[in-house]
Symmetry: C2
Subunit: 125 residues, 2 copies
DNA sequence: CTTGACCTTGACACTAATGTCAGGGTTTAC
DNA sequence: GTAAACCCTGACATTAGTGTCAAGGTCAAG
């Protein structure tokens, strides 16, 4: 299957497919004229890549375990667990920071409201 | 005050001070030889800029309300509220997305654990 | 009057995945 | 045999703030 067909089947752009290859995620063979030739497994592989990209993993991280995920041996792929744990820890840290910022912003809004209230009181006295 | 002194006082790099100026956040005058000359108010202004950058606002957003925050009239600056509200909404959306991703990752880890368990059972029977 | 510390502008690098364009080769259908 | 549709590589742009370098002007102390 040529790159255009794979792109059409998966909804992933030709540009991205070439990028995944460059990052070591796909390894199509080349035909006589240099065109990429993808196996039938490439389609599932691309969907898997997209899945993990959407979960916020980088192509580098995905490259670290894609080979065993594709063999349906996720369960015995020792590379998967630490990456998932690390990602979850990152997410927790991000959520914490966002909550801090949100609270800070809310405090600021509240103090503005308080100040307005005070000013209205003073005007009215 | 020249740019180096302002950088030393605030802990913000010379590079960043020039960038803030380019983004319309600072407007130092120039002396005869073209050197930037900052007023004494610039120091507080820079600290304020850093505060809001750390809260995740962009220089463009900060430029939208910095003038009135600096006059200590935050309370009557109509520009502040919608920006804060928008930022809080963005943060909520980000937290939601991160939670979805986290749950997805946890489910995946759990299903790997379950699969391992199943395989161990099968081996042992 | 020279040295070193400071200032100026302009430019490129970084991150990560993707869009897009240019310039050129191949294949397919008519 | 030609035009359309496809493929190739390489390169630059995007975001947003900051680091860093080059090439050069200015200033203060000795």
């Amino acid at each position: 299957m040529k790159i255009g067909e794979l792109a059409a089947r998966t909804g992933v752009s030709v540009r991205s497919l070439r990028y995944y290859e460059q990052q070591g995620l796909l390894k199509p063979v080349r035909d006589e004229s240099g065109y990429r030739d993808y196996s039938i497994f490439a389609e599932e592989q691309v969907r898997t890549i997209q899945l993990y990209l959407n979960l916020g993993l980088t192509t580098e991280q995905i490259a670290g375990f894609l080979h065993c995920v594709m063999k349906n041996k996720e369960a015995f792929c020792t590379e998967v667990f630490p990456i998932f744990r690390q990602k979850i820890a990152e997410i927790d840290a991000q959520i914490n920071q966002l909550n801090h910022i949100k609270m800070n912003l809310e405090e600021r809004m509240q103090s503005i409201l308080d100040e307005r209230q005070r000013d209205e009181m003073e005007e009215g006295k």
